[in-house]
């Protein structure tokens, strides 16, 4: 079963976090990703650039609309995602609770409904 661990937290610049403050967390994230990888459960890990780098695209209104900025402005921003493949929610919870992002933000654990793997859409298995 694939789960996405979605990291949400205030953006460092908004709360006065410096590069220096972030250094220990970089190391922690490095160790974290390596332990996920070593356990053979890591599918993908992406840490995102600040939300102001977001470009939003939609055809919801019938015409192509491209905008700068995120579609919803919230205090906590999506900061990154780890996609992991583990047997069940308890395993996902165990990994999520070790994520350095949980120290200063919240991690949402969302099960995958369906994934594109090996050339086709596949239900979780």
């Amino acid at each position: 079963m694939r789960y996405s661990l979605l990291l949400n937290n205030p953006e460092p610049a908004d709360v006065g976090i410096t590069e220096e403050d972030m250094a220990p967390f970089r190391e922690a994230f490095d160790a974290y990703a390596k332990s996920l990888d070593a356990a053979g459960v890591l599918v993908a890990a992406e840490i995102l650039k600040p939300a102001e780098m977001t470009t939003t695209v939609t055809l919801r209104t019938g015409t192509l609309s491209i905008q700068d900025g995120p579609f919803a402005d919230t205090k906590e921003k999506l900061a990154g995602a780890f996609v992991i493949d583990v047997p069940d929610l308890d395993a996902a919870l165990a990994w999520a609770s070790k994520c350095p992002g949980a120290q200063y933000g919240v991690i949402e654990i969302r099960p995958s409904a369906i994934s594109f793997r090996e050339g086709q859409w596949q239900e979780p298995g």
Binding site: D88, L89, D90, E123, P124, G125
Partner: protein, 482 residues
């Protein structure tokens, strides 16, 4: 209905007694491979329905539990085997027509293991769960503990954990749970459906967590069981539940207990949720015998329910502890409670439920000694509040302090507690009113009784408070109001 001479009513009584003893065991096994509680409940309901039509004709099977499991399993297997099971009507199982043996049982198992495609995606059942085909129907394992941990999983809303346990472990109908929680039936049904969907979709595993996690989550399981007890602890102890509840104390369970409860089935009174909680607590004590708090909870519920009959006056009014006729207390249940408490104590780790149970035990001792040891109660209550400062514990301590050291000490303690939440807490006002009356401060007492009444919805409790208020205004005004 030729052949067996068994009436439909008898078949129903027998099916119901098996249901009481085995519902959670069967459901735990049926739901484990897929995590789909709803589908398992549907299959089990079908099997019970089928028992009602089949048993009067073919006789009661030698092992009714195995029969029900096999029919339910076939029902689920048929449903999942059908490629378009979402839209098709489930197939009739071919089982059940060949007499009293388990229909389609072990001998007629359809095909080798693994032929039935797993219902979830590309072939993996939930890890650690026993697949239906691997269950030995003649010796059905007990996975209720895993089911209890699923119900109290941290990913499940705490408010729905108790209802979920009552429904899936004990088979209490959703409407009854709704009325116990004073929630409209459709709202409760929706909460239960949502919780079950969450269990299935997020894939909460149907296995016991490892020791570390188990210890972290046990408190939530106990809390949810306690929730069922707290909901109607004033109910009298129902006699018919003794057989089941005894299962946790080393008496025969499963099929053997079913034979006993058959005799009780006719005289089955409406069962209280507190009795269901006692059953869950004794199951937990049986399955986790080395956890002191589990015994503490079982002891607490035993000792409290032992006084159930004495709590209700013949007119249905509420009788407070101090005025209860101790000869109405159930000695057997007190003894069971004390036994749980002894076992808990021998494990050497104190906890909230053990302290509450010990307090109950001190109260129960009045039946033997004729007096209440208020000093012992005070020490226990102080330890409880130090460990877990709940509103209930603080109010209880004030009340104990009133008995041990007089109303003035109790009132200053209550004032010093300074918890804003006490302002809307009914027991706090009822206790304050009682203490003020004891202290001779009639006017303030009347105001406090008024506030307590405004916060009370239970008719029996209202009656009790109204009488106390009347008594207060009937006596001549005391010195402080002149």
């Amino acid at each position: 209905m030729a052949g067996t001479g068994l009436s439909t009513a008898e078949a129903r009584a027998r099916a119901e007694s098996v249901a009481r003893a085995s519902y959670g065991r069967l459901l735990a096994l049926l739901a484990a491979p897929t995590g789909d509680l709803q589908a398992a409940e549907d299959a089990l309901a079908d099997a019970f329905l089928r028992a009602l039509t089949t048993w009067p004709v073919s006789g009661i099977p030698e092992n009714p539990e195995a029969w029900l499991f096999t029919v339910s399993r076939n029902r689920q297997r048929d449903r999942y085997r059908s490629a378009a099971y979402r839209t098709s009507v489930p197939l009739e199982p071919d089982a059940g027509s060949s007499g009293a043996g388990p229909p389609g049982g072990t001998a007629r198992r359809t095909g080798p293991r693994g032929v039935v495609p797993s219902p979830v995606g590309s072939g993996s059942a939930l890890p650690g769960a026993v697949h239906w085909d691997e269950v030995d129907v003649e010796a059905i394992p007990d996975r209720r503990l895993a089911l209890l941990f699923v119900c109290a999983h941290p990913a499940i809303d705490p408010g729905v954990r108790t209802p979920l346990m009552l429904q899936v472990v004990l088979g209490v109908p959703s409407e009854r749970i709704a009325s116990a929680f004073a929630v409209p039936a459709p709202a409760m049904a929706q909460r239960l459906v949502r919780a079950k969907r969450r269990i299935r979709e997020a894939r909460i595993p149907f296995v016991l967590p490892d020791t570390t996690v188990l210890k972290q989550r046990l408190a939530a399981v106990l809390e949810a069981v306690y929730g069922a007890y707290a909901l109607d602890w004033r109910s009298p102890l129902p006699g018919a539940r003794r057989v089941r509840a005894g299962a946790g104390m080393g008496e025969p369970s499963g099929a053997d207990a079913g034979a006993h409860s058959q005799a009780d089935a006719d005289a089955d009174p409406p069962e209280s949720l507190a009795a269901e909680a006692l059953y869950l607590a004794t199951v937990l004590a049986e399955l986790l015998p080395d956890e002191p708090e589990v015994h503490g909870l079982a002891a607490l519920i035993c000792l409290s329910l032992a006084r159930g009959t004495a709590r209700t006056a013949s007119a249905g009014g509420f009788v407070p502890l101090a005025l209860q006729d101790t000869s109405l207390w159930d000695r057997e249940w007190i003894a069971r409670g004390e036994e749980h408490l002894r076992r808990a104590h021998s494990l050497g780790r104190i906890g909230r439920f053990q302290l509450e149970a010990a307090m109950q035990s001190v109260h129960c001792a009045r039946a033997r000694t004729g007096r209440t040891d208020w000093q012992a109660l005070l020490r226990l209550n102080e330890a409880l509040v130090a460990l877990m400062p709940t509103l209930g514990g603080i109010v209880s301590l004030a009340s104990t302090l009133g008995e041990a050291s007089g109303p003035d000490a109790a009132l200053s303690f209550l004032d010093a507690a300074n918890a804003p939440a006490l302002e809307d807490f009914q027991p706090a006002w009822a206790t304050r009113a009682h203490l003020l009356a004891e202290a001779g401060r009639a006017t303030e007492a009347a105001a406090a009784y008024g506030r307590a009444l405004a916060l009370t919805t239970d008719p029996a409790l209202r009656g009790f408070l109204e009488q106390a208020l009347e008594r207060l205004t009937a006596v001549p005004p005391s010195v402080d109001t002149v």
